[in-house]
C-alpha cells in the first residue's frame, strides 16, 4: 500500500455506532472469545504491539498519533480510524482515554508439554484480580519466565485491566488456560518439581530451588485450593519479619510472585 492509497483509506473510515458497540462488547470475555479479538489502550502499548508485528485489526487514534507512526507500522493494520477525544472516550474502558486504542487478533497459542522441562514455569490457581495477573505477567517477563499456566477460573488474560497492568510484557509471555491437574501430572512424570507458595512452607531463602520447576501460586485470599495441594513437591514461603500485627496477614500474590521469581533467579545465578 503506498501513501496515496493509505490516505484514501484514512478518509473512508469512520467510527460508526456499530463499531463503537462492537469495541465496547469486547470488554466482555464471551464476546472476545467469539470474535477472537481483544482491545489494547495507550500510546506506548499500541506502539509496542505494532513494533512486535501483532495482528492489529483496527486502530482508532488521534490524527497526531497516526501521523507520528512510521508508515511500515501502519501497513499491517486492516482499518485505521482517526478519532477525537469524544469518540475515544466512547470506546475506552478508562475514565480518561489515551490517544490510541487498537483491536488485536488473539494469537493461537499451542501448549507444548516440553515447555515445563526446560526452565521455570508459573502456575496460577484461581487468581481473580486482573491487576494481579497483569503484574505477575510483567514480573515473569522481567525474570525471563515465558509460560504461565492458569486454572480455568483465573481472570481472563485479555481482560482490559490485565492488559493495562501487564503493559507490553504480554508480548513476551504465553498464558494458557488449562486443568492444572493435567499440567502437574505431566510435571511429576518428568520429575519437574512443583513449588507451591504456602503460608506453612519452608523459607524461600533457605529451601533448595532448582533451575527447572513450576512456581505455583494460589488465590488472593484462599491460597492454593485443597484438591491441588497434593501435587506440590516443595512448600515454600516468604518469611514475614513484622511479627504479628493487625492488617498484615498476607503478601499480595503479585508481590509474592515477584519475590519468588527473584529468589529463583538468584539461586540460578549461584548455581551456575
Amino acid at each position: 500500500m503506498n501513501l496515496t492509497t493509505f490516505v484514501s483509506v484514512f478518509k473512508q473510515q469512520m467510527l460508526s455506532k456499530n463499531k463503537i458497540n462492537f469495541i465496547l462488547s469486547l470488554q466482555k470475555k464471551k464476546a472476545r472469545e467469539e470474535a477472537k479479538l481483544f482491545v489494547i489502550e495507550g500510546d506506548k502499548l499500541v506502539k509496542e504491539f505494532l513494533l512486535a508485528k501483532q495482528p492489529v485489526e483496527m486502530l482508532i487514534a488521534k490524527p497526531e498519533f497516526l501521523n507520528s507512526l512510521p508508515l511500515f507500522h501502519k501497513q499491517g493494520i486492516r482499518e485505521v480510524i482517526p478519532a477525537g477525544y469524544d469518540n475515544l472516550k466512547k470506546i475506552s474502558s478508562l475514565k480518561t482515554p489515551h490517544n490510541a486504542l487498537a483491536v488485536v487478533r488473539m494469537p493461537e497459542i499451542k501448549m507444548d508439554p516440553d515447555d515445563i522441562t526446560g526452565g521455570l514455569t508459573v502456575a496460577l490457581d484461581f487468581v481473580q484480580d486482573p491487576g494481579n495477573l497483569g503484574t505477575i505477567i510483567r514480573a515473569a517477563a522481567w525474570f525471563g519466565i515465558r509460560n504461565i499456566y492458569c486454572s480455568e477460573n483465573c481472570v481472563d488474560v485479555y481482560n482490559p485491566k490485565v492488559i493495562q497492568a501487564s503493559m507490553g510484557a504480554i508480548l513476551n509471555v504465553r498464558v494458557y488456560y488449562t486443568d492444572l491437574k493435567d499440567l502437574f501430572r505431566a510435571a511429576l512424570k518428568n520429575k519437574v518439581r512443583i513449588y507451591g507458595a504456602m503460608l506453612d512452607g519452608e523459607s524461600v531463602y533457605s529451601h533448595k530451588l532448582c533451575k527447572t520447576g513450576i512456581i505455583f501460586l494460589g488465590n488472593e485470599s484462599k491460597g492454593i485450593s485443597e484438591e491441588l495441594q497434593p501435587f506440590i513437591t516443595d512448600r515454600i514461603m516468604i518469611p514475614r519479619i513484622s511479627g504479628t500485627g493487625t492488617g498484615i496477614d498476607s503478601l499480595n500474590v503479585s508481590m509474592a510472585a515477584s519475590v519468588i521469581f527473584s529468589e529463583f533467579t538468584r539461586a540460578r545465578g549461584r548455581q551456575g
Copy 2:
C-alpha cells in the same frame, strides 16, 4: 455507654445530605488536610481499624455489619450511622460499595531522626500511582519496615486508592512527607547508607546490603530525580533475565520494592 444508650444513639443518627457531601469531599486531599480526617472502606479494613483502637469519627454501615461488631469496638466511635446499599453507594469511592465505611482521624506523626539509624527505612521520590504506594506500604509491613519517607510530590497516603491497596498495613507503617534532601543529609551525617534503585546499579544479589540503610525508589517512569541522585551511596538494581525485548523496559516500582525488601531481609538473616 451501655446497650440501651447505644441503641438510642443508633436511632437518632441518620445519613443527612450534609454528611454525604462531607464524606465525599474527603476524596480530595485538600479537604482531608483541613479536616484531618480520611475515609476507609471495607468490612475487614474497618474491623482492623476498630481492633487497633483507631480514632473512628463516623461509622456508616449496614445494620448486619453493626450488629456483628462486639460492643467494645463501638465504644470509641463518635457517630454510628446504619445505612443501606443505596446510601453506602452514595458515599463510596468504589463502583460497588462494601458493607462498611468509616471516617477516621489522621494520627499525628512526628518524625524521629533516630528512626533512620536503627534499621531499614524507605524513601520514595515522586511515586504517583496510589496502587503502587499502597502496595509498597503492604510490602514494608510484611518485611518489618516501619518508616516510609515520601517526597512532597508523592501521592497522598490518605488517598482512598492508597488505603485500599495497603489494606490494614497502613496501621503498621508510618508514612512521612518531607524534603528528602534533609532526610538524606541526616542519613549521611550518621553514616547511614542510601541504596538507590537505578537501572545502571549493581546487582542487588551481589551488592553488600547493610542492616541499617535507606532503600530509595523513584518515580514510575522517570526513576530517581537528578537532583537527588548525588545522595545515593549505593546504586542497586534487579537484574533482568529476559534479555532485550519489546515491552519489558522496567519492573513496576512496587514489585521492585518487594524484591529489594526481600533481598535486604535475606541478607540480614545471613549476617545474623
